[in-house]
């Protein structure tokens, strides 16, 4: 109980997350990814670079980011919106423990709903455990971690975490991260692609960062956002009555 990960909070979080209809959305983007992969595999001749475009660009910038957004805001944001978080916070449990537990649950769920489907899609696309399939899997694991830290922080910062997160994904990750070279240093998609490409060595992945840069920046962003989220949760306020 004294560790950063709290089993009771984890259990409540999992039951809360899967008790909401929103949980059905977790599976939609990965299913679309696998479906597209199956269709392209059947339609395209081998040797063309479509796996990099679909599994890398589309998989990381759309499937990974959107699924992480839905999951990352579900693990904490929904409890804050409903007000049930008060019962958790009216105990001496450390606020860092709440944040770390929520983050771990979000990251693991995102890995299950995105990294595993990425691996499956990679296996289908390349016909086996190729460097590309493994690289995409590992890249998606890394992306799941960083994205969830960002979205858990957003949940504490604003009650409109999904809307703000969607704008962030569309404007920063999809547009600026891919087309403005300076923005890549602060793009989670680019961290994931950097990790994936260090294994896959696949030019069509559009990776703009080296493994070292991707790892260092990924760790910094994860730690900074989690520390900030903990600080904000420590200052969680209930609305009083104004005169």
């Amino acid at each position: 109980m004294d560790g950063a990960f709290n089993k009771v909070i984890a259990s409540i979080t999992l039951r809360a997350v899967f008790g909401r209809k929103r949980a059905l959305l977790f599976a939609v983007p990965p299913l679309i990814l696998i479906l597209i992969t199956v269709v392209l595999k059947a339609a395209r001749p081998p040797g063309t670079p479509w796996p990099g475009r679909i599994l890398g660009d589309f998989g990381f910038s759309v499937v990974l980011s959107l699924t992480a957004l839905i999951i990352g805001t579900s693990v904490l944001g929904a409890e804050i919106d409903e007000g049930s978080i008060v019962h958790l916070l009216a105990t001496p449990v450390r606020r860092s423990s709440v944040i770390v537990t929520k983050f771990v649950i979000g990251a693991v769920l995102t890995m299950a709903f995105v990294a595993v489907p990425e691996l499956v899609a990679g296996l289908i696309a390349t016909g086996g455990f190729t460097r590309l399939a493994v690289g995409l899997f590992v890249g998606a694991l890394a992306g799941s971690v960083v994205y969830n830290a960002v979205f858990v922080m957003l949940s504490v910062l604003t009650t409109r975490a999904i809307a703000v997160g969607l704008l962030y994904v569309l404007i920063w990750e999809v547009v600026l991260g891919n087309f403005v070279s300076g923005a890549r240093l602060l793009s989670v998609e680019q961290y994931a692609l950097g990790v994936a490409n260090s294994i896959a060595h696949y030019g069509a992945l559009n990776a703009g960062l080296t493994l070292t840069t991707a790892l260092i920046m990924g760790v910094i962003v994860t730690v900074v956002t989690l520390v900030f989220a903990t600080r904000r949760l420590s200052e969680f306020s209930l609305k009083g009555d104004a005169v």
Binding site: A90, T91, P92, L238, D241
Partner: protein, 303 residues
């Protein structure tokens, strides 16, 4: 360990002042936090519970600042007004999980005890989503009591309760207060507060309008005449004798007796018996008519 203190506490939101320079000390026993809607009651409770930062001043529980201090929850139990609990858990799971988060040695045993205190043993195996509003209130009370706190804060605890549940809750709070715990509850149901609170804190427009025993507060409000109902062997004769006394400002003969308005509570109380004896009138009943919490509250809000 169980004293709650607010020292020159203000809380504002932009230009709107919700709580204005309040100083109060709340000790063991049951204290009622009263005020009209929007007066600042919930703000004060949230400040004490550590869920709101004071804009100015200091809020302490047992000598420790409540803001940004999760350690206070070892001695504080909170029953929030908002009806938002983990509805997918059973009542027993909710209270036991709360006990585990408090790092109690025997969470299951502590949960059993708290559920029994809140009279929820029969429904503890059901999901909270199936509970009535009153049952949700009681399971929240059980969760707030599970770590045996010295300070219990309750925001409108009687909301949604049926009369039997209200009586049970009142008995429980009186018992907890008698055990030396500090119980602070906000409520707009004055009847309940009157029956269970030892002292009241009245907040009007963000300011502390009155503090202490409400009967004593009423007696100090000398600008308002005190109203009594007197029944005697001859109300009409007693009325004409009373109207000649300087402490009496008005007399009305009603169907139920003699309604007397006195400007001086002490003088009237002293003179009435002597006057009745001199007039050979037998006093049968003397009831203060506006010493109820409701009339004290109404006076404070109007003034």
């Amino acid at each position: 360990m169980s004293t709650v203190e607010l020292r020159n506490v203000s809380r504002w939101y932009g230009n709107v002042v919700a709580v204005n320079d309040i100083t109060m000390t709340i000790g063991p026993g049951v204290t009622g936090l009263l005020g009209p809607n929007g007066a600042g009651k919930s703000t004060v409770l949230h400040l004490i519970a550590g869920f709101l930062a004071p804009s100015r001043g200091e809020v302490t529980v047992g000598g420790a600042a409540s803001w940004r201090n999760p350690g206070i929850y070892r001695t504080v139990g909170l029953v929030p007004e908002r009806d938002s609990v983990y509805a997918f858990l059973t009542g027993e799971e909710f209270v036991r999980d709360t006990a585990t988060l408090h790092q109690l040695a025997d969470p299951a045993g502590a949960a059993r005890r708290a559920i029994a205190i809140a009279d929820m043993a029969d429904a503890q195996g059901r999901r909270i989503s199936t509970y009535s509003k009153g049952m949700r209130q009681r399971i929240k009370v059980a969760a707030a009591l599970v770590h045996d706190p010295q300070v219990l804060l309750l925001d409108e605890p009687f909301n949604g309760m049926d009369p039997r549940q209200r009586l049970h809750m009142m008995d429980l709070l009186i018992k907890l207060g008698a055990e030396g715990r500090t119980i602070l509850l906000s409520s707009h149901i004055l009847e309940e507060v009157e029956q269970l609170a030892d002292t009241i804190q009245v907040i009007v427009s963000g300011r502390l309008a009155a503090s202490g025993d409400f009967r004593a507060i009423r007696r100090l409000m000398t600008s308002r005449p005190h109203v009594f109902l007197v029944r005697s062997s001859d109300d009409r004769r007693l009325g004409s004798a009373l109207i000649g006394r300087p402490a009496v400002t008005g007399v009305e003969l009603t169907g139920g007796g003699l309604q007397v308005r006195a400007s001086d509570f002490g003088a009237f109380s002293r003179e009435l018996a002597g006057l009745a004896r001199d007039q050979d009138i037998r006093l049968r009943e003397l009831l203060p008519e506006d010493e109820s919490l409701e009339s004290v509250f109404a006076y404070l809000v109007e003034s």
